[in-house]
């Protein structure tokens, strides 16, 4: 005779809390997360049961136990499972610095309104990186313990110093015979000056291209001016050329979001779809490039950006529903943290901060920065994030530099007010550079932080979609594992 162990089991057992966090949603209900960031949305009454330790409803008990929010008293298995998952999530921590950015020149023939770094006189080589500095930077890069090293060439317009890029690539491959890393090369370029020699070299050495595509031509050209007013035309033809010579997936595109972009998310996405891109990153408004606003203006702009983002994301979901596969990268970064044990892989959304630990920037003058934004701040007169120079520092000097350590420690989310209690902390990150630029310290005042507001708006939105829309569940799961 079968005993109904299901009810009996639960009646005789005593349950207790495991460490969990919670946050109430404006629309009602409560998000509850465990030590890993595995989450549940509870109704207000379910949450009251959890808070009041009323452990009587079988369905709720099963939900809470399987997500490691509660456990049967003294049960050891949840401890083992949580520890394993946390170890997995943190495995990447010590693999410092896989991305190395070389600013090979500040020269550029574009005059994009949001750019802080470029110098328009395209012939002036005082803003080119010196060969000796480039090789010194390579030596530092190879000291990184990461097995995967990505060398990215930026500028200005990096291809204006293509000679140096060639030398760096060849030297890196020579050095790698000894180091045996997984090397990847990326050239960030507006593609306006691409030619056959460049394409041929890129094909031989398997170099990827990353270019700017802000949206349809009216938007793109308004943002990114150049003599001839043909930035968009050159970008499109450049993309097609690279694809023809090297393959469809050898070039990716990134947008910069300006005020103008905010009114046209669908048009921007349509442009990416038209160009056959399978991913798009709906980036936040860059606070650099015009006077950094603070206070009410910042909040207002963030709200406008959030509307832009949600409209864009909804549109992307519908495109997918109708058969067009395109991934939104910011959402997929959050979803990786929400649905898997991986740590995300996107340096701007990492805690401890990806700055310095995930990426190093070697400027044209040999100075080393913790991140691209850190370098841009220097152009605005703020050297807070300079870590040293290739002429005087080694890799370990750089990682142990005070300015980096301060930034890392102070921005470490779990030790911040509000962050340490926040249910979305496992899904978030701790960008010290943005906070320094907009609020003057590494932490920022969270209630005013646009970064914070983005996470606390976007993550619940993704959770709601996941719970209520079967297609989204499937789509988001696929996005979380790419």
């Amino acid at each position: 005779m079968v005993t109904s162990l299901l009810q009996d089991n639960q009646e005789r057992k005593v349950y207790e809390w495991l460490p969990f966090r919670f946050d109430r949603l404006r629309s009602g209900g409560v998000v509850v997360t465990n030590m890993l960031g595995e989450w549940l949305k509870l109704s207000d009454s379910e949450f009251n049961d959890l808070a009041g330790k009323v452990f009587s409803k079988p369905e709720l008990l099963i939900k809470l136990t399987s997500k490691h929010i509660i456990r049967i008293k003294n049960d050891k298995l949840p401890v083992r499972l949580l520890a394993l998952k946390i170890a997995t999530k943190n495995k990447n921590l010590s693999y410092a610095t896989g991305l190395h950015i070389f600013v090979v020149t500040l020269r550029c023939e574009h005059a994009c309104e949001y750019c802080q770094v470029s110098r328009q006189n395209s012939r002036n080589t005082e803003f080119d990186m010196a060969e000796s500095d480039a090789y010194a930077a390579l030596a530092i890069a190879f000291m990184s313990p990461s097995q995967n090293i990505k060398l990215e060439f930026q500028g200005g317009e990096s291809l204006l110093n293509f000679d140096l890029i060639k030398k760096i690539v060849i030297r890196a491959q020579e050095m790698n015979i000894r180091f045996k890393k997984n090397l990847a090369f990326v050239i960030a370029t507006n593609l306006a000056v691409i030619d056959d020699e460049i394409l041929s070299f890129a094909k031989t050495h398997n170099i990827f291209f990353s270019t700017s595509l802000d949206g349809p031509s009216s938007l793109h050209n308004a943002n990114r001016s150049r003599p001839g007013k043909n930035s968009w035309e050159l970008a499109i033809s450049g993309i097609e050329r690279v694809r023809k010579e090297l393959g469809h997936d050898q070039v990716s595109a990134l947008m910069t979001t300006t005020d103008r972009s905010l009114t046209m998310p669908k048009e921007i996405i349509d442009e990416y779809v038209r160009m056959g891109f399978q991913e798009i990153f709906l980036r936040h408004l860059s606070p650099y490039g015009h006077a950094v606003k603070s206070g009410a203006n910042l909040k207002y702009n963030n709200r406008r950006w959030l509307n832009f983002y949600f409209e864009g994301l909804e549109y992307i979901i519908e495109l997918n529903r109708n058969g067009t596969e395109i991934v939104e990268i910011l959402a997929s970064t959050y979803l990786k943290k929400m649905l898997t044990n991986s740590s995300g892989g996107y340096v701007d959304l990492a805690t401890p901060t990806g700055a310095g630990l995930g990426a190093l920037v070697y400027n044209y003058d040999g100075d080393i920065y913790a991140s691209d934004e850190g370098r841009m701040l220097k152009e605005m007169g703020d050297e807070t994030f300079k870590l040293g120079s290739v002429r005087t520092h080694t890799f370990s000097d750089v990682l142990l530099s005070d300015s980096l350590l301060n930034a890392v420690e102070e921005s470490f989310a779990p030790s911040n007010p509000m962050c340490s209690d926040c249910a979305f902390e496992s899904h978030c990150g701790s960008d010290p550079v943005i906070h320094h630029a907009t609020q003057g310290d590494f932490v920022g005042f969270k209630p005013s932080s646009t970064f914070c507001e983005r996470t606390t708006e976007i993550v619940p939105f993704l959770m709601e979609k996941y719970e209520t829309d079967r297609f989204c569940r499937d789509l988001f799961t696929r996005w979380s594992v790419r």
Binding site: W17, P19, V79, A83, A87
Partner: protein, 100 residues
């Protein structure tokens, strides 16, 4: 000095100063506040920044926020031990993985 303060009191036998402070911090966009201890009461003088909200709405939100922080303190205290065991187990294995 707050010009037109509203007073909200919390019993210090039930609520910790820290939970009140955290609640005030969290609502920092909506209120100015000053905290003081008055015998067995934690006394909050608040002034509403957001003119659209009523003082009742703000008070209610404040009380619920303080309650929530108080609950978080309780969760943290009760789960501190198991949390430490999990982290110790997790990080000892990260170290041993690296040594492989």
């Amino acid at each position: 000095m707050l010009t037109d303060p509203h007073i909200v009191n919390f019993d210090s036998a039930v609520f910790s100063v820290e939970s009140v402070q955290k609640a005030v911090y969290r609502m920092g966009n909506k209120i100015f506040a000053s905290i003081s201890l008055d015998r067995n009461l934690i006394r909050l003088e608040i002034e509403v920044k957001d003119k659209k909200a009523t003082i009742e709405e703000i008070s209610n939100e404040l009380r619920q926020t303080v309650n929530d922080y108080s609950l978080r303190e309780k969760i943290s205290a009760e789960t501190q031990e198991v949390r430490n065991v999990v982290l110790a187990t997790a990080f000892s294995r990260v170290v041993s993985q690296e040594n492989e």
